[in-house]
Symmetry: C2
Amino acid sequence: MTNLAKDEIIKRLQQAGIKPTTQRVMILDYLLRNLDHPSSEKIFQDLHSQDSVLSKATVYNTVNILLDKGLVAVLETGDEVAHYDVELHEHAHFQCHSCRKIWNVALPDMEVNNPSLPEGFISTGVQVLVKGYCVDCANSLQV
Amino acid sequence: MTNLAKDEIIKRLQQAGIKPTTQRVMILDYLLRNLDHPSSEKIFQDLHSQDSVLSKATVYNTVNILLDKGLVAVLETGDEVAHYDVELHEHAHFQCHSCRKIWNVALPDMEVNNPSLPEGFISTGVQVLVKGYCVDCANSLQV
DNA sequence: GTAGTTGCAAAGGATTTGCATTAAG
DNA sequence: CTTAATGCAAATCCTTTGCAACTAC
């Protein structure tokens, strides 16, 4: 599990031009320690229960700043909530229809970076989401 | 542009086990004529302005039924709204960061159907979303 | 009749926003 | 000091739900 020192986290924020306040460091630290694609609500709940100096609005604002500066990525799954990810190198996600958990999966070596876009279109990234059933749910549901 | 006769649409609904009411036929017809990935709100606005016999709840309910029966697919983009698509064969989508419009793009012939999932996991489908800038926005924004 | 569908308005849930307070350099 | 960030609550937007009225067999 990634476990960067506070100094490292502060440095990352500063390099991105984000003022490293207590709350922002907490949140980025949380994301680096929890690679299971938490939602803003989950981040808030977990951090707020440990340490009451944190509001929901701050979590949403901070996550949006981190997104904007490219320190995290967002994954839209069709759940009502957005899931965040600090893993920035290209990879795909798998989500279980039943338990809604998300896994990272390796992207096969494919030309997903060069889909046949119309002339003049510019790609900035590709999101690949595989849906299905995880092994536990597949077993218990007899899918 | 697809332009199925009402009879065809009714038949499709019946084959899926959906009672072909006036509103449901209207909505499926709309989706077949508008391949630009409309949202429920857009469907409601366009159909309601033509013909006032339609409520927002009916649009949401109907779209969910169509989804459930596999007559349409949903595309989650990270906008606050879901976009619907009657094109059911495998393809990718491109969305412009700037104008938010969505295009269908061909999936390169890749093994996206067989990503390396963990043992026992079952895939039921893959959603590929390419993000970037469309030609018009790229030009006007000098990206 | 009876079951299923519609419309309306209200509820629900995720996210954003306004503004007074507080913290950071 | 001065600017920016925080916390709180209210607001907003999308979507779902409850329920009474309606429609179609």
